[in-house]
Each structure stands twice: as structure tokens, then as C-alpha cells.
Subunit: 272 residues, 2 copies
Amino acid sequence: MVRLTTVMREEHDEEEYLASYDPRAFPPVAVTVDVVALTIRDGGLHVLLVRRGVPPFQGWWALPGGFVKAGVTVDEDLQHAALRELTEETGESPNRFHLEQLATYGAPDRDPRMRIISVAHLAFAPELPEPRSGGDAAEAAWIPVDSLGLDDGEQLPGAAKRLAFDHAQIISDGVERARSKLEYTPLATAFTGDQFTISELRAVYETVWGERLHTGNFHRKVLSVPGFVESTGEMTESGGPRGGPKARIYRAGDARLLHPALLRPTTEDEVR
Amino acid sequence: MVRLTTVMREEHDEEEYLASYDPRAFPPVAVTVDVVALTIRDGGLHVLLVRRGVPPFQGWWALPGGFVKAGVTVDEDLQHAALRELTEETGESPNRFHLEQLATYGAPDRDPRMRIISVAHLAFAPELPEPRSGGDAAEAAWIPVDSLGLDDGEQLPGAAKRLAFDHAQIISDGVERARSKLEYTPLATAFTGDQFTISELRAVYETVWGERLHTGNFHRKVLSVPGFVESTGEMTESGGPRGGPKARIYRAGDARLLHPALLRPTTEDEVR
DNA sequence: GGAATAGTGTCTGTAAGACATTATTAG
DNA sequence: CTAATAATGTCTTACAGACACTATTCC
């Protein structure tokens, strides 16, 4: 045990010595920041993807992302880098959206070129205009998550789009994180506009969770959680598109956590 | 918006072109893996720390960690790198422990030498022997978390040990993650031996959460959650050190999530 | 014996889910 | 008018927390 510790210490001394005098002496590892940006369009969950114009995976769809900039001119935080990727691709920065770190992916063979470690981020955004792409190969678009044929990170053969690198896994992890976050945070409001009705909020839950919810119980539950939503005092101009009375309009409250939480109906008797 | 997208695409093409032909052309970013290893000793939560023998932060305490190895000879996964750091410092690999990714820290100024991005991991281990340190400057030890004077990631002036880099923040995040994980996973058993009594399991919760729990309700609750623990059919040889009857002995069950969850008593009416 | 503990029983308040009901709007 | 929906009411079941109690063991 002592021996191992000593070996390790010498190893570190060596590396740190090199580090302080010659940064280029490091093993070639690059760091990228990728963003899983989720939004709801046409009643379905969509993810922002870009089509790769160069190898590797040329022509395949991939998450927006880029290398972390380091140096004397630019030296940005990881969160800032993710924000930059997001606003570049969406074209405009939504005034209300959520951005958090998801996880870091660093399997040695995840990029055929070299060792690339990706710090993935997760974003929730309200509906944004389609990112108009130029006429050439590279393009960006909101893609329905359902069309990707994700199954526990593995992309199934019948998928409409082929995903580059391990991005199927990253998207799968991001969606699962989103589903979980809706349970104990008020972040569902990040998918809606600044003002929303309880029905619109319920539609967010139903879309992300992929399940129908009981309208009455959901309504009462949302209003009973302190700080989730607060009434604007206003009502919608008209009723719903298929009938029904005018609805009260709410905005997001000041709670950062939902207590008690809104648990998913089918927790499927926990994973064994 | 189209303009921005085009700019970004060209930028990526450029970087990817360089990447495929000259990895050394990248901005100098290094990647380390740090481990927040938690265990319970003498009724208190402890974290594994090493004392730095070289600048920067020479003589300060830091998390065990090291640079990610990349290259033709060694090319390890992030999880594998974290496992290596953990076993090197603890001297022996516990047969039952938990290791997960915590978060990635990449503030530009977190290391004075260069841009270093740290992928932090979190480990739960049963009580292990003290890592015997050599006689010189560098040493490793289990340090009580309470003695670090952590307060929301900031280390308070009166702390017994000074922590290098942003490791106070990382430990703080790790402890909070641990507290949360005990709520909805059966990972409290990773802190105990292979066999344990309900009282020992309760002691884990009380130590990590820093709160006394109701013995009777905890007992009934643990047994009511499917798959949390299963009885070995055995009893302890003797009663508790301060009296009481012999206790039944349990082992970890096959559940991966607790349903329903064991929520902390003082959820403090959610953070606003 | 006295104190502490394992394990169980009981009661109450809260919350989730199922179901019902009323009022209001679109078509 | 008919269908759909917003919002509220009611009932049942589950569970968390408080409290009580018994049996067992250490000192």
C-alpha cells in the first residue's frame, strides 16, 4: 500500500513538473462541450441536432458542440461554452431557458481521431423558430426525439437519422434526466412561454414523460405545491381549440424544488 | 442567425481538420480525474485526502486524483481512471463499494498552471484502514468532513485543513449528492459491511444526513421498501454496546431504487 | 435493578389516485 | 345542441411521523 502510494506520488510529481513548464508535453486529450437542447414542438419532444459536413461521421446528425477554448485571448467557463453553442445554433438566445451540466463522456474510442472528452450539457427551451439552414450540406434542425429510435442509449436500426459518436447515448441520458427533473423541480416552466395555463403545463409533462395525466388531479396538485406557479390574475382570451371555458393564466413561482414532488405515475416498481 | 451558424460551421471544420492531422495543435487543455471518497469512521463522515508535496498548493490537502492517461500504451476510461486513483490511495480495493461520476469542473482559473478540467467522481466505501503515509511530506488520510469547515463549497477561515484548488466546492457537492442519493437509492449499504443490522444502517443515514432519526419508524420503513434489505436469518452474537436485545442481520437486497423513497426529515420547505 | 435498544402496534395528518360534478366555451 | 375542457369536490388508500409498549440485553 505504501509502495503504491509512493509510486503514484512520483508519477504526479513528474506530471506536475511537466505541466508547470511545458503544457504541450501532455498526452493529447481534447475537451469538447456538447449540448442536448430539448424543446417541445407540435406536441412532441425535439432535440437540436446539426448535420456534420466533414468526417468523421460526415452526413450524420450530431449534437451541437465545439472545442473548449483555452488560451490568452479566450478562456471560457464550461457553462459559458455550452451557452455559446446553444445560442449559435438556435440563432437567438431565448429569454427564459434552463442550462445545466449533464455528464462527461470519455470512453477512449468514442472519437476515431483522438482522445476527446465531451462535457455534455442539457438545456430546456420554449418553442423556438426552426434554425434555417444554408443550402449546403451542414444544417441544423429540431428533430423529434421519437424519430431517433433510442433505446437505452443504443440507436435502433430503423432510426430515421443516424447519430454520430456516442450521441445517441448522450441524448438518451439527457431525456432521462429531463424526465427526472420534472418530478422534483419546477423546470417544466422552462419549456413554456413566460405565461401559461395549467393545461399547457400539463402538456409539457405529458410530452416529456410520454404519458397521459389525469387533468383534475394534476390541476389541484400543481396549485397545492408552494411556489410552483403563481396566478397573473388574467384569463385566456378564448377557450381551448376544441371547446372548454377560458383558463386562468399563471407564471412560474419562486420555488426551486417541488415539495412534495410530482412523481411519475409508472415508476414501474423500481428497477431491480 | 444564418450567419452565426455559418461562422460556427467553418470554425468546426477548421478545428476538426486540425484534429485529424495534428493533435498537438489544440489549445493546451489537460484533463484530470479526482475522487471524493466518503466513508464513515467513528460515527463521522470522512473524506480521503492527500497532502500535496509539490507546488502549487504545496502542503495543502487535496482530493486524490491524476491526469487521464491517453496514448498508445495506456488509454483508460474515465471511470477506470477514478477507480485506479481510489485503489492506489486506499491501498486495497474494497470488495463492495460504489463509484459514480459527480460533475466536471472547468473554471479557467481553477488551476494556476494551465487550463485543467477535472472530472470529479464520488465513491462510497465501508470503513477501511487508515492509509499509512510515508515519513515525508506527502501523506494520505481519512479526514472528518466536519473539520473542513465547508459552507456551500466555500471553506471557512477556521478550517483545520486548507484545501487546494476548488476542492472545497467539489467535496461540498459530493456530500450533498451523497445525502440526496441515500433518499432514493439503497446505496447506504455501500457504507456498511456485507452484513449489517437495521441500527447500523440507520447510523449511516444519521451520519450522512447529520440528523437523528426515529428508530421505530426507520425500522419499519426500511423493511417495507421492497428489495432494500433481505434477512440473512441470523442474529448478532450479542446485544448493543449499551444494552438492548440481539438484532437481526440483513444484507443488501436487489433493488436499485427505493420506492417509495426515504426522504430527509428537514427538507426545509424547499429552497426558494 | 436501571438504562438502552430491537422490534411492533396504533393513531393522525397529508397526499395521491380514482371518480364525479358543474360551468363554460367551440363548433 | 354536443363535445371538450377548466376547475372543484369527494372518497379511498397509502404512507410519514408521533407516540406507546414489550421484550431483551448490557452494566
